[in-house]
Structures are given as C-alpha cells and as structure tokens.
C-alpha cells in the first residue's frame, strides 16, 4: 500500500526518536561521535543501543501479550529471577591460591543459561495458565508473580547481591561481536526471529484476531486460549534473556533491584510504539523504537547534568509531548489553531 509517510504508523515514533537524538547532540557535540576502540565501536550511541537492549527485549514480549488484550506486570520480577538463577549457578568464586586469584564456575555456563531461561519460561507459563486457563484478569494474575517473584529472586540470591566471578559470562552483557555490542545483537536477533514468525506464519493474524474479538476468533476456529498462553510464555522468555543481559552487564545479580519497575517502562515503550493497550493491531518495530526512545531520554537526562530531583518532571514532560505529537486529534487541533489563531472553541 502506498500511503503518505506521515500516515505510516511508525512515522511519529521515529520522529520522536530523531528529535531526542538531535536534542542530545545539540547539548554535547561528542554525543554523535562514534570511534573504534580496541576493535569495537565506542560512543554514546553505542551505549544507548546496548542499554536499550534489555528493555527492548521485554517490550517485544510485552507487545504480543498486549496484542492479545493482556498485560504482564511480572516481567521485572522475572528478569530478577532469571538473573538470580544464572548468577547463582555460574556464581564462581574468587579463590586466592597463594597470591594468584583464579575464577571457577559452579555449573557449566550453558547449563546455567538454559536453566535461567527455562525458569523464566516457567514463570511465563504460570502467568499464561492463570490467564488463559483459569481466566483470571491478566493484571491481577501477573500481579501475583510480580509480588512473589521478587521474593523468589531474593530467595535464590538469599538476599545478597551475587557477584559473578566467571569471565566468559561477562560477554553476554559487555562483549562485542563484529564491533557491535552483544546485547544489541541478541535483541536484534530476537526481533528478527519474532518478525519472521509473525510475518511468515499466520501467528500475527491469529494474535490480532484474538486480541480484537476473542469470541469471533473462537467461532472461526482459532485456538484462542492456546495462543494467549504461548504469548505469556514468550514474554517470560524475553524477560529471561533480558535478565541474563542485566546480570552479565553488572557481573552480579541483585534480587531486589534487577529489573525494578521495568514493567512500566516496557509498557510505555509498547504504547509509544503505537500499539494500543486494548489489544489487536501491534507493531514490533514500534515497540523496539519505543524502547530506544526511553533509553535515549534516560541517557539525555544523565548526560545533560539535569539535577536528579528534576528527572521525573523532565520525563513526564517528554512523555506528554510524545503522546500529543502522536495523537491525530491533537495535530488536527493544532492545524485548526494555526489556520485561525483566534481562541477556537474547545468543548470538554
């Protein structure tokens, strides 16, 4: 379909992103500079790609859940759990043998990673069962895991911050492949895979149908419940991968703080990306962009020397601006004002 660019659903999210980047660049010129340092790209933009990866992953999973009219507020906790499992299983400890310190891992790393992801998917399955199986309301169903999940994470880490002393594990969060940060590549891979799945198979169609009109989808012979269930499992998986990245980046797992409030940012990312929380039509690319927008904003706040107590106000202002910018009704109103700057009637 050949629609005008500003009609495209991704147009405004992209505009916002570009604007934010521009603002950043304006405040410190070094922002856009990307150099090559010991074999890999180095610079603010790279940091943003890197930093946005976990959020983007979670947002991707969340997108599908939201598309089925659901919501998953337990992702933050799941991130913490998977981080905890991985860190605990790899753990490793700093053994100092007469002066020389050496690193050992408790279980082989692949096993640890597999377990972490497995547990994460279990969490997703639990949510899915409550929602699709028992027919609980998504927000309350996932609230249960959100509350208990943190506890479980702390149980795993025993309330401590588990530091990982096993160098190979650090690659997931800090490594580079072909000059690009691994977290970014991971997110990109998941994104590509998901996109293929949604485009090449009928999954996208099914999910949207279920999200828009579950009853009709049921009559048309779609396995509505099964689809819903799997979206939650997938969301769990995404959160799991995010957990690995988070723990590997800081070389430790913090049951209490890992992925704290991530659910809000993820949902925000999804909505900024133009997917409606009422389910139905969804845009994966949109969510990815949404995540980038959020990360860029955070980065901007840090690097512009905004005093911490103002952070939230700035964030609020930007979110308001973005929302309005994306609202056709608002743009229409603006246009009207532009045409005749007299106070136009604005019925409430």
């Amino acid at each position: 379909m050949n629609v005008a660019p500003w009609r495209h659903r991704l147009f405004w999210p992209v505009v916002t992103l570009v604007l934010l980047l521009a603002v950043n660049a304006a405040f410190n010129p070094s922002f856009i500079r990307i150099t090559v340092r010991d074999g890999h790209l180095y610079g603010s933009l790279v940091d943003i790609l890197k930093g946005a990866a976990p959020l983007a992953l979670v947002a991707l999973g969340m997108t599908l859940v939201i598309a089925t009219r659901g919501i998953d507020i337990s992702v933050g906790a799941v991130v913490a759990i998977s981080a905890g499992v991985a860190a605990w299983m790899i753990g490793g400890s700093l053994v100092i043998h007469d002066g020389v310190s050496s690193y050992v891992s408790r279980f082989p790393m692949p096993l640890a990673i597999a377990c972490a992801l497995g547990v994460a998917m279990l969490c997703g399955a639990w949510n899915g069962a409550l929602v699709a199986g028992l027919g609980m309301q998504p927000i309350i169903a996932t609230l249960i895991l959100m509350v208990a999940g943190r506890g479980i994470a702390q149980l795993i880490t025993n309330g401590q911050i588990i530091t990982v002393y096993y160098a190979p594990y650090f690659a997931i969060g800090n490594g580079y492949l072909a000059g690009l940060p691994v977290p970014f590549l991971l997110a990109a891979a998941v994104f590509a895979a998901l996109l293929a799945l949604v485009r090449r198979t009928a999954l996208g169609l099914f999910i949207e149908a279920v999200g828009i009109n579950p009853a009709a989808a049921h009559v048309a012979g779609l396995p509505a419940r099964r689809i819903t269930f799997w979206t939650y499992v997938f969301c769990g998986l995404c959160a799991g991968i995010a957990g690995l990245i988070v723990s590997s980046t800081v070389k430790s797992a913090d049951g209490n703080n890992a992925g704290l409030l991530m659910e809000l940012d993820a949902i925000l990312a999804v909505t900024l990306g133009g997917t409606s929380l009422t389910g139905g039509r969804f845009s994966l690319a949109g969510s990815a962009i949404g995540a980038l927008v959020i990360q860029t904003l955070t980065y901007a706040i840090y690097s512009m020397g905004v005093p911490p107590e103002v952070n939230l106000v700035v964030k609020a202002a930007v979110v308001f601006a973005v929302m309005l910018l994306q609202s056709p009704e608002f743009r229409l109103t603006l246009a009207q004002w532009a045409r005749r700057p007299l106070p136009s009637q604005e019925a409430g």
Binding site: G51, L94, Q160, I161, V250, T298, Y302, S303, P308
Partner: protein, 293 residues
C-alpha cells in the same frame, strides 16, 4: 527465669546487602539472647512500618524496635505505643519528634558523619590543584542519600579546589551506578578526578564503567564510597576502590542487650553510637577475611 521476652522489630525492607546483613545480625542475636523476635518487613513503605507497629501493640509485645524509613511522621503511632506502655527502640536512624520520651534509645550509625568521613578522607588524601568530583547519589529523597550528601559537602565547602562537577542518582544499585557513570564519562569534556558514591554497590558499578572507558579506577579516578560491604573490599584489594567508609549493620547484639536492659528496668543511654571505621585500600587485604557481610 521469667517468661521469654517478646521483641517486635519492623525492618525497612531488604533493598540492599547491607540491609540483609542488618536483618541477619538481629535475628541471630535474638536467637542467641533467647529473645522471641517478631520480624516484619515493610518493603520500603512507612505506612507498612506503622501498620507493623500497630500490630505489635495489638499483640502486646514487650519491646518494639524499628529502623525508621524516614525521620518524620512517627508521632501518632509512637504515642499509641507509649499509651500501651511498650518501650520503643530506634535503630540506625533517628526520628524527629519534639517529645523524646516516645522512645527509650536510639542506636546506630550516623549518615551525616559518614558523609563527613568520606569528605575528610578526600581532603586529606587527594591534594593538588583542581579536583573535579562526580557524585553518585542514593535514591532521591531517601535519608542516607540526603545526609551523606550534606555531610560530604559540609567538609569540602570553603575549599574551592574541590568541585562537584556532576551529581546524579544511581538508586543505590550497581546497574544504575554503571549506566550513569558511563554517561558521565562520555559527556564530560572536563577530566573527572574523583568519584564519590553514596554506597559501595554504585561504586562497583561505576568501576566497571570506568574500566570499559579505558581508564584505571583507583588511579585515573579516585573512588570514595560508603558501607564497606564485602564487594567493596574485593574492589579495594584489586586496587580499584580507594576507600570505603564503614557503616556497620551488625546492630544485633547491641540491640538485644538494650532490650534486656529496658525490660529489666535499667536505664539505657538515649543515644548508643556504634563505632565505625574508615577502610582505605591498604587495610583491605588484612580486613577482608574478617568481614561477615
């Protein structure tokens, strides 16, 4: 021997290793002292602490102890406790109520003082011309963040060569600490000489950021932090962290002693200070094995 003493303790939460160590120490000490402990976790919410104290009153415990999540707003519930003739002990943070008959004693560390210690170490050890400091604050509005900032600034005030060039919150976490430090290192054209982190976790996160930026933490950038948890010692032993000001979570034994005294009707001092030291890099290796948390 009379019936077991029942102590109701309302903990702020489990937001950090430090806090967990603090809880552990109290539970352990209670067991050792043969005191029955009613423990309640408030998950960082003052209202939950108030609820907990109310339920302790309802359960008619012998002594109530708690670490206030903030100084303000305890009057009402403390009066209820007083009315119910249950003595109250404050740990590791004071409350600001005019009527100090509402609690029998306050024990624990003093965030202001920790901030000052950090400042003093800096002034004594980092000399020479311009000293550009970046600060990683704790959670905005939280008492330690506010006091550790205040104390530190008190000391460097009036010493123009010490300048805080950037200050941002790292929420007391490694992840945020690292993220913020990354941004600082990229953004700041001026050279950063010193990092002051309100707790070790943020410092540890920042250290990773500094290394990734190709600098040497501890040398190119001197790092001062507070708490002195295990992680900090490892960093110091690796020469990446210059100093950590101790803030001891091990209040358990002291608390139990105070509880027993109060129940026995002895008079206890209004303020029990836990002596805390400053651990510079050098002393780390020697101290490390001794650390319990």
């Amino acid at each position: 021997q009379q019936k077991k003493i029942v102590l109701g303790f309302s903990q702020i939460g489990a937001e950090s290793e430090w806090r967990t160590a603090n809880t552990e120490s109290i539970k352990q000490a209670a067991k050792d002292a043969g005191i029955e402990l009613k423990f309640s976790d408030a998950q960082q919410k003052q209202e939950n602490q108030i609820k907990a104290i109310r339920s302790f009153i309802a359960q008619k415990v012998d002594v109530i102890a708690f670490s206030p999540v903030v100084e303000s707003g305890w009057g009402t519930v403390l009066r209820e406790a007083k009315a119910a003739k249950i003595p109250v002990i404050l740990t590791d943070r004071a409350v600001n109520e005019k009527d100090d008959s509402l609690w029998v004693t306050f024990m624990g560390s003093d965030f202001l003082e920790e901030g000052r210690k950090a400042g003093r170490w800096l002034v004594d050890n980092v000399k020479g011309g311009e000293v550009n400091i970046v600060e990683l604050q704790g959670t905005v509005g939280s008492a330690p963040a506010i006091d550790r900032k205040k104390g530190f600034e008190e000391v460097i005030k009036g010493k123009p060569q010490y300048k805080i060039v950037r200050s941002q919150t790292g929420d007391f976490t490694r992840a945020k600490g690292k993220e913020v430090m990354q941004a600082f290192l990229k953004a700041d054209p001026k050279k950063i000489n010193v990092l002051y982190a309100h707790n070790d976790d943020m410092a540890i996160g920042a250290i990773q950021a500094i290394e990734e930026a190709g600098l040497k933490p501890g040398q190119d950038i001197k790092i001062v932090s507070i708490d002195a948890v295990k992680g900090a010692f490892e960093a110091m032993m690796a020469g990446k962290l210059n100093v950590s000001v101790e803030c001891s979570p091990l209040l358990g034994p002291q608390l139990m002693k105070a509880v027993q005294d109060v129940v026995a009707g002895k008079t206890v001092p209004k303020r029990i200070v836990t002596e805390e030291t400053v651990f510079p890099m050098e002393s780390a290796a020697k101290e490390f094995p001794k650390r319990k948390y």
